[in-house]
């Protein structure tokens, strides 16, 4: 057992930013991460982070773009707060030493990004997330945050609707430990791995959200999943929007462009959800090949390709086996970002479980609503890492957190230990390999719960969830040892991913309209009268099933934020 004031699960941008607040406020702050903090998925973000820093810009415009981008189910108070705090949050990082790219006069450089009216995306070359993550890690070292490096979250503990800590496993030794805390924060990132085609790291399995649901803190917005139009067909590796910016075409198996049918003005440069839907329509109509279409740059000419798109050419050659100079690149819409997360109030505390907080992609504050704007999620991590961190400090110093509530550690550890023993004891004979559960699940989710959904498809996905849950009860592992048992870890991740998939399918069935990234062909229009609401997803331990609920969208009364048709 160990005792901390604040325990944060997750050492990506959101977790480390929250830890900075805890430790600089003088609290005993610990961070738990299943991979070394610098390996966190935040390092993969390239594009940048939005903030109305430029005096000619106005955070109100940023907020409006975000409300609209969210298709009007984002929480307006959180959005206002995020956009107003954005410039300071970026300047904080700059002060800590983050090498943001500069303009000639030394001010932070900003570029234009989709769905916004002003070039307000700050960046550090083409590795913004990486630069920010390294900077926050440096601060964690500087201030002495206690890092449980390569520790895996096994369970969130609670007592009478109050979070009390977490049971974690030291991956290196396999030993279990209960970390007691006055405030617990989940910052474990997203769950994009449930789709066969995704741009996510293999660690993005929604662990923290799944455990929060089990502990009594419901999630929300799970039905909203963002698909990026151009992931490589086989690996899902991202081909940047910049390629279409350079003039690339999308073509079908017939060799013809098709975007003029769907977005006559913006063509290939229409918004992400529109392009993704157009591509899938073509594929469904038989104009695809192996489940994808093609991104064609041949007409740009060898010279331009070599000069402007060398990285893209290398990716296509390495991971798809085609040279874009001679052949079009096979691509398909690819899961990129998961909008759902632990449902919180505007400062990041769970709406149901006191003392449990959430930040970053694992949270649903909800600033992205039905559709996230590019470069708003890095922003979410640093703004809400900070705000939630401060609120935890206040909770611990001045509110309920002052009187710690304890959970019996021995009992908590014993429970988890028994679970692991049972998993290890499962026989191979008559059992199911985790790779077969995963394969069936991710293919079904891709096929029937991705860009287009309808009742029949969702019913099929629901059967697949049932099958996966059934598979979990027979899942066996090969590795029975204690030390560095990654076989065990991936099996536990699988359990979490299946729960997240169950929540995603259940909420997608429930929302009978089309909004943002959620597109139902049987309910093709947005229905503000019935569905201007969040759908929550909790977990009932008795039935072992997801239970749905509602939580109102937080409205500020700003007349500008009244729902309007979303046109670009």
């Amino acid at each position: 057992m160990a005792q901390h004031d604040i325990v944060i699960i997750g050492a990506g941008l959101a977790g480390l930013r929250a830890a900075f607040e805890g430790v600089t406020a003088g609290l005993n702050t610990a961070v738990v991460s299943k991979i070394h903090p610098l390996r966190s998925h935040s390092c993969a973000a390239q594009g940048g982070v939005n903030a109305a820093i430029n005096p000619a810009d106005d955070w109100h415009h940023h907020a409006y773009d975000t409300v609209k981008g969210a298709d009007f189910v984002g929480d307006q108070d959180s959005i206002d707060m995020m956009c107003a705090e954005a410039p300071q949050a970026v300047l904080d990082l700059d002060k800590m030493g983050c090498p943001f790219s500069r303009e000639d006069d030394g001010t932070i450089a900003q570029r234009a990004f989709g769905g916004q009216n002003f070039p307000r995306t700050a960046y550090a070359a083409d590795r913004t997330g990486h630069a920010m993550l390294h900077t926050l890690w440096e601060q964690a070292i500087k201030y002495g945050v206690h890092v449980y490096d390569e520790y895996f979250l096994m369970e969130l503990t609670s007592e009478n609707q109050r979070a009390t800590g977490a049971v974690v496993m030291d991956i290196r030794t396999g030993k279990l430990q209960h970390l007691q805390a006055k405030a617990v924060c989940v910052a474990t990132g997203g769950y994009g791995r449930m789709f066969a085609a995704n741009t996510n790291a293999m660690t993005n399995t929604g662990d923290g959200i799944a455990h929060a649901m089990r502990a009594g803190a419901p999630a929300a917005d799970l039905e909203f999943v963002q698909f990026h139009p151009t992931g490589l067909l086989r690996s899902g590796i991202l081909i940047s929007e910049g390629v279409r910016g350079e003039g690339a075409y999308l073509i079908g198996a017939d060799g013809q462009r098709f975007m003029q049918k769907y977005a006559p003005n913006k063509l290939e440069l229409a918004s992400r959800d529109v392009v993704s839907r157009s591509m899938v329509t073509e594929i469904n109509q038989g104009n695809g090949k192996n489940g994808g279409v093609f991104l064609d740059v041949r007409h740009l000419g060898k010279h331009l390709i070599l000069e402007r798109l060398p990285q893209i050419r290398q990716l296509a050659m390495d991971f798809e086996g085609v040279d874009p100079i001679d052949e079009p690149i096979p691509v398909r819409p690819t899961c990129h970002y998961t909008m759902g997360g632990i449902r919180t109030d505007k400062l990041g505390q769970s709406i149901a479980l006191k003392g449990l907080f959430a930040a970053g992609e694992a949270a649903c504050v909800s600033v992205h609503g039905a559709n996230r704007l590019g470069a708003n999620s890095l922003l979410e991590t640093i703004v809400f890492g900070k705000i939630t961190g401060k609120d935890m400090v206040d909770f611990v110093k001045n509110r309920e957190g002052r009187d710690g509530v304890a959970t019996d550690s021995t009992h908590a550890v014993a429970k988890v230990s028994a679970r692991i023993a049972a998993l290890k004891a499962r026989p191979r004979e008559g059992g199911v390999r985790q790779s077969s559960i995963r394969e069936a699940l991710v293919n079904e989710m891709q096929e029937n719960c991705s860009v287009f959904r309808d009742e029949a498809r969702l019913n099929s996905a629901w059967s697949a969830i049932k099958a996966a849950k059934d598979g979990l009860s027979k899942m066996y592992i090969d590795d029975k040892s204690e030390a560095f048992n990654t076989d065990l870890i991936t099996a536990l991740e699988m359990e979490n991913l299946v729960l997240m998939a169950e929540g995603t399918v259940a909420t997608a069935m429930e929302r009978k309209e089309s909004r943002g990234a959620h597109s139902r062909t049987d309910f093709p229009t947005r229905d503000d009268e019935h569905w201007m609401t969040h759908i929550t997803a909790g977990y009932d331990p008795a039935t072992r099933e997801v239970v749905l609920g509602r939580d109102a969208v937080r409205i500020t009364g700003n007349p500008q934020y009244a729902p309007a048709e979303r046109k670009y």
């Binding site: 006069d105 030394g106 083409d126 690996s235 910049g242 390999r433 985790q434 090969d478 040892s481 990654t486």
Partner: protein, 349 residues
């Protein structure tokens, strides 16, 4: 290029377990299917998923950005997710990869093992503690202090950018030759990280840092073998950063250390030796990893099998005239410590 009947090859993995503090290692062969796009990581995932779930390795991003998956593949430290099976089997000159040379029957095999210079915990997983401990020792954060410059310009971070590409994968550390002789050497990644701060205008204690770095196990312990430049998957070129730190230290008058004295002597000797191994040359002459002053040392290491093959240290400058010409050039144009690293284009979002 989808093949109907996938080819197969042998993946030979150096597996290891620690029992009662003792590491026992043994090769195990697996047959894996592959095509033009299969990576070594993909092959390992195949083995773990379909054959033996107890195979242990680290991975996360599968896009060469998180730094999890560095391991030794056919003799050199590489990222498994960035290394393609066909490039290892057949070689790829453009990527500076030599073809596999160990065969089972007719076909070459892919040999995979854990990183070097670090204790093995299990199979392909090494203990990264010591590596990170050294990174922490250089105090890896911008410090307040008297040398802080308030004004930042567009070009201020050109040096910072080059080294901050580092993903802390440890490949350089694993292939570092100085580390073999002196395990306390702070290592290429930590020194590149140190240069990231020394070259940041906002850093307040540049000279203090240079002093620290000039002490034992620091910048002067590098043998300039160039292995780290070759190993690095992100183009960080740690040795270049180390040489820049050396130049800056000498410029700052920190010349009392053994290494610095040696360097000054080297400068005078060079014309008579007729051999040259300045990074100046190295960077311009592709594939050269010679360490002239260290040849005897390197030979010793090679003899005990500690240096990964191939280790060409045969770059000899032909005539003394050439040496003198190069040296005159170096004098006119001292080591370019202010080189710019180009910002790459917009990313993905």
């Amino acid at each position: 290029m989808q093949t109907a009947h996938p080819q197969t090859t042998t993946l030979r993995i150096l597996r290891g377990t620690v029992t009662n503090g003792k590491l026992v290692q043994q090769n195990q062969d697996f047959t894996i299917p592959y095509d033009a796009t299969t990576t070594v990581l993909g092959a390992l995932e195949y083995v773990k998923g379909e054959i033996d779930g107890s195979l242990t390795f680290r991975r996360s991003c599968r896009a060469s950005i998180c730094g999890s998956c560095a391991m030794v593949v056919n003799g050199r430290s590489r990222l498994a997710c960035k290394t393609k099976v066909i490039d290892i089997l057949g070689g790829n000159e453009a990527k500076n990869i030599a073809a596999a040379s160990v065969a089972v029957g007719e076909a070459n095999v892919i040999e995979v093992g854990p990183q070097r210079n670090q204790p093995v915990l299990k199979d392909l997983v090494v203990d990264i503690e010591p590596f990170y401990k050294k990174v922490k020792e250089i105090l890896p954060y911008v410090q307040e202090g008297p040398e802080k410059e308030e004004n930042v310009t567009k070009d201020s971070f050109s040096q910072v950018n080059m080294v901050s590409n580092c993903i802390m994968c440890g490949a350089c550390y694993s292939d570092c030759t100085a580390m073999v002789e002196n395990p306390s050497f702070i290592g290429p990644a930590a020194l590149a990280k140190a240069y990231r701060f020394v070259s940041d205008p906002r850093e307040g204690n540049k000279t203090e840092r240079l002093k620290e770095l000039s002490e034992k196990n620091g910048i002067w312990d590098c043998t300039r073998c160039g292995m780290c430049i070759d190993a690095c998957p992100k183009g960080v070129a740690p040795m270049e950063a180390i040489v820049k730190l050396r130049s800056l230290a000498m410029e700052a008058g920190i010349t009392h250390t053994e290494g610095a004295k040696h360097a000054m002597a080297f400068k005078d000797d060079i014309a008579t030796w007729g051999v040259l191994n300045e990074p100046f040359m190295l960077l311009k002459t592709k594939g050269v990893m010679g360490a002239i002053a260290q040849i005897p040392n390197a030979l010793n290491l090679a003899k005990v099998g500690k240096i990964p093959h191939p280790f060409p240290f045969d770059h000899k400058v032909e005539g003394l005239d050439e040496v003198k010409a190069i040296y005159a050039e170096l004098k006119k144009n001292p080591l370019d410590v202010k080189t710019k690293a180009a910002d790459s284009g917009p990313g993905a979002g």
